[in-house]
């Protein structure tokens, strides 16, 4: 136990500069790229990057050899939406940086500046094969949730690799509730907010002020209102999705992705044409909200068939700080309901990376990609499987967490 703890501590402090040269040999390599799945593939990691992927790669001098023995070798999973690192314990009155109450700060809330890489959920999550996450705050004062960040689960001090990458916007039932309880008020308010942001700082300096946003939020929203950043929109119903598609058509410079989309399958062709990607929860099949009366288990399969870009993550309202590891189970259930395996696996790896604009360096096992690599003891989308090795930025991570320490302390055979 103590030895493990010491090892854990020393690895956690190690700097990425120590990245070693590693050759993973003879795995079932899921590249997520043009090479597809390589049955007896090798992956060479040099200086934190993928240096080569293919068959029979010669080990460079000094390389450490890891024999995969036919097991799955894949890119690490990317939790497309999480609150990981924003609290150690989310309830019980413990500090929780995921929730922003009051109206002083909403759009300006900045998840990257709240992320704590030292929370115990980070090792708990990464030892199940999740290496990256998109995190977002949840402001409750207005229709703007705040600015999300991209993080690595290395536990290192520098693990925020994308700051203010996207703006969370509520444009469904929740959005309506934030603006007087009606969509009839929500859309005009959204348009007014975009105008406030575009006209920042002039209208604020002139003393006119914002129509709906204060100066802080207007400044924060400005890049997104100009099409320079992604707006991640929470909505579920087919009707709301059609409205967003129409709004996008009228404002082609703005960039949108949808989080939720329980009824996206009903408007799949329009969505595919719009180019708006969707982050869906494949377990969402209950009419628990009026905005998702038509939720169904094969949403992912239908979106895939229609050519809609999508990723898989817990839906709005189910996002939490502790269970990002379950994205692989979510993807497995999409497979059980008709989604091809390759598409499901991509939806929790490459798909999120592409939606958040880092698909050129994360989410594939291809030359020059970031070396987030996981070796599994079975099919990674299968609930009984677990990683046997996890690399982030080319560094092998200890498969130790507070939970494994509790496990060892209370083991029945101890």
């Amino acid at each position: 136990m103590r030895i493990l703890a010491a090892l854990f501590a020393s690895l956690a402090l190690a700097a990425p500069a120590f990245a070693e040269t590693v050759l993973i040999r003879d795995g079932r390599v899921v590249t997520n790229g043009a090479a597809g799945v390589i049955q007896n593939g090798d992956v060479l990691i040099v200086d934190g990057r993928i240096s080569a992927v293919g068959e029979n790669i010669t080990a460079p001098r000094g390389a450490r050899i890891v024999e995969a023995e036919g097991r799955f070798v894949t890119p690490g999973a990317f939790a497309a939406m999480s609150e990981i690192g924003l609290s150690e314990i989310s309830g019980s009155g413990a500090p929780n940086d995921a929730s922003v109450e009051g109206s002083l700060i909403s759009a300006a809330a900045d998840a990257g500046r709240a992320f704590d890489p030292s929370v115990t959920a980070v090792p708990v999550t990464r030892l199940e094969g999740v290496t990256r996450a998109a995190i977002a705050p949840s402001a409750t004062g207005t229709m703007f949730g705040g600015r999300g960040a991209l993080v690595s689960l290395s536990g290192e001090a520098d693990s925020v690799f994308g700051e203010r990458t996207f703006m969370v916007v509520e444009l469904g039932e929740t959005g309506a509730n934030r603006v007087g309880g009606s969509r009839a008020a929500m859309w005009p308010a959204f348009e007014a907010a975009l105008r406030d942001a575009r006209e920042y700082p002039a209208r604020y300096r002139s003393g006119q002020g914002g129509a709906v946003l204060n100066e802080i939020d207007a400044a924060a929203l400005q890049p997104y209102a100009r099409g320079e950043g992604l707006m991640l929109v929470h909505l579920e119903s087919a009707t709301d999705i059609r409205r967003l598609i129409a709004f996008k058509r009228a404002n082609p410079r703005l960039r949108f992705a949808i989080h939720g989309g329980a009824e996206a399958w009903q408007v799949a062709p329009e969505l595919a044409r719009s180019g708006i990607p969707v982050i869906i929860d494949p377990l969402n099949n209950l009419p628990d909200r009026f905005e998702r009366l038509s939720a169904r288990l094969d949403n992912a399969a239908l979106l895939h068939a229609a050519g809609v870009r999508f990723a898989i993550a817990p839906g709005p309202g189910s996002v939490d700080a502790h269970q990002a590891r379950l994205v692989l189970q979510l993807a497995g259930n999409a497979v059980a309901n008709g989604l091809p395996w390759d598409a499901a696996f991509a939806a929790v790896t490459r798909g999120p990376a592409e939606i958040f604009g880092v698909g050129n360096r994360i989410g594939r096992l291809e030359r020059s990609y970031v070396a987030d690599v996981v070796i599994w003891d079975g099919d990674p989308l299968e609930v009984q499987s677990a990683p046997t090795a996890v690399f982030i930025d080319g560094e092998e991570q200890p498969l130790v967490s507070r939970q494994t320490m509790l496990r060892d302390r209370y083991h029945p055979d101890r």
């Binding site: 150690e88 314990i89 989310s90 309830g91 019980s92 413990a94 115990t120 959920a121 708990v124 009903q266 377990l283 969402n284 099949n285 209950l286 009419p287 628990d288 909200r289 009026f290 009366l293 038509s294 169904r296 288990l297 094969d298 939490d320 700080a321 502790h322 269970q323 590891r325 379950l326 189970q329 497995g332 259930n333 497979v335 059980a336 099919d379 989308l381 299968e382 609930v383 009984q384 499987s385 677990a386 939970q403 494994t404 509790l406 496990r407 209370y410 083991h411 029945p412 055979d413």
Partner: protein, 459 residues
Amino acid sequence: MRLKIWIGLAAAACLAACATTAVETPDETPRREAFASTYEPAPSTPTLIRNATVLDGLGGEFANYDVLMRDGQIVSIGQGLAADGATVIDASGRFVTPGIIDAHSHLGVYPAPSIQATSDGNEVTQPNTAEVWAEHSVWPQDPGFGRAVAGGITTLHILPGSANLFGGRGVTLRPVLGARSVLEMKFPGAPQTMKMACGENPSRVYGGRNSSPATGMGNFAGYRQAFANAARYARRVAAAENGEGDPPDRDLEMETLAGVLNGDILLQWHCYRADEMALAIDVAHEFDFQISAFHHAVEAYKIADLLAEEEICAAMWADWWGFKLEAYDGIRENIPFVDAAEGSCAIVHSDSEVGIQRLNQEAGKALADGRRAGLEISRGQAWRWLSFNPARALGIEEETGSLQPGRRADVVIWSADPLTSYAVAERVFMDGALIYQRGQGQEHFSDFELGQTYREGAQ
């Protein structure tokens, strides 16, 4: 009017949980007991399932086995059974198990859609609401019941929420799709249960109102005083039955607590932390009652020996943790570690309208995590967590939960090993009747869902 009078009479004559005996009034034929089950099994034909891998719910796994059902019961399981006129289903390559029993669900009392009008699961008005019955909140139209059946559920236990020290009575149901009232769903003869809650929820809710309990010690004082009062009430009832004095005025709260004290009502106690479970056990010793199961029991692995010794089941999630302090010490091996103790009773529960649809996967995770920790666990044993053990906690293990001759024929045919991700329930039988068949247009939509929007092929 006549009906109301009758219900009043029946209820007055019945203290606590005597829910199964008919009440005879002097001048009439026997009438149905108030709130008694009116469940009727759906029509069934004799059915022989052949050549399956069978997990019997008791711990056994049998290759190339047959299961014969007739008149709603399991007739036999074994190799090469004679069809004897039964409908034959070839289940080669498939798995057959007892139907899953979810020991902890709020379907019906927190139904979909989730709005103010349907928030019927927590009588958050005072810390002791032992007098309320969850069954009186169950909305049979909850679309969640149909979704649960598609996940292999044939029995589910509906509990009040955990805001109160005493949340009220729980009820064990059959997921009867199209039931017109909860009475048509009640598991015949199943004991009633009572929900209690440890920990953060009651003290947060009532402490937040500047009333008791505001602390852990307030919680325990609340439990003990209530049981002390109930013991006095039970003594007066017993004395009156022996001709000593008048019975006390009916008190619905006391009736429930007295039912726990005399063993008619099975206690289901929401409790996360090991130390609180240990103290709860001492409350049970002080007032001489049995705890059937701790629910959630995130730290049960720390007291697996104590739970086994006290014959208390633990109903657990596979991996939920961290959402509050009392869930902080959750580990993935909780279920297998509890299971490892001699005489244990580990249960996989959902507490979720989503989780109830795939409890088999949760058991699969716990199985794999236990094996990785070095424990030897069979698939058969893992299925026990989903059927026999929850049946035991609910007092219905002589009725269902295992594939034994004479048990209710609650049977699921799975497309593959049901402890894995891609397996789906292909057919679900309840009391021998086929109530669900995947992809055969048998998905059930409740009245609520009917005609709302395009649903063809949805599930």
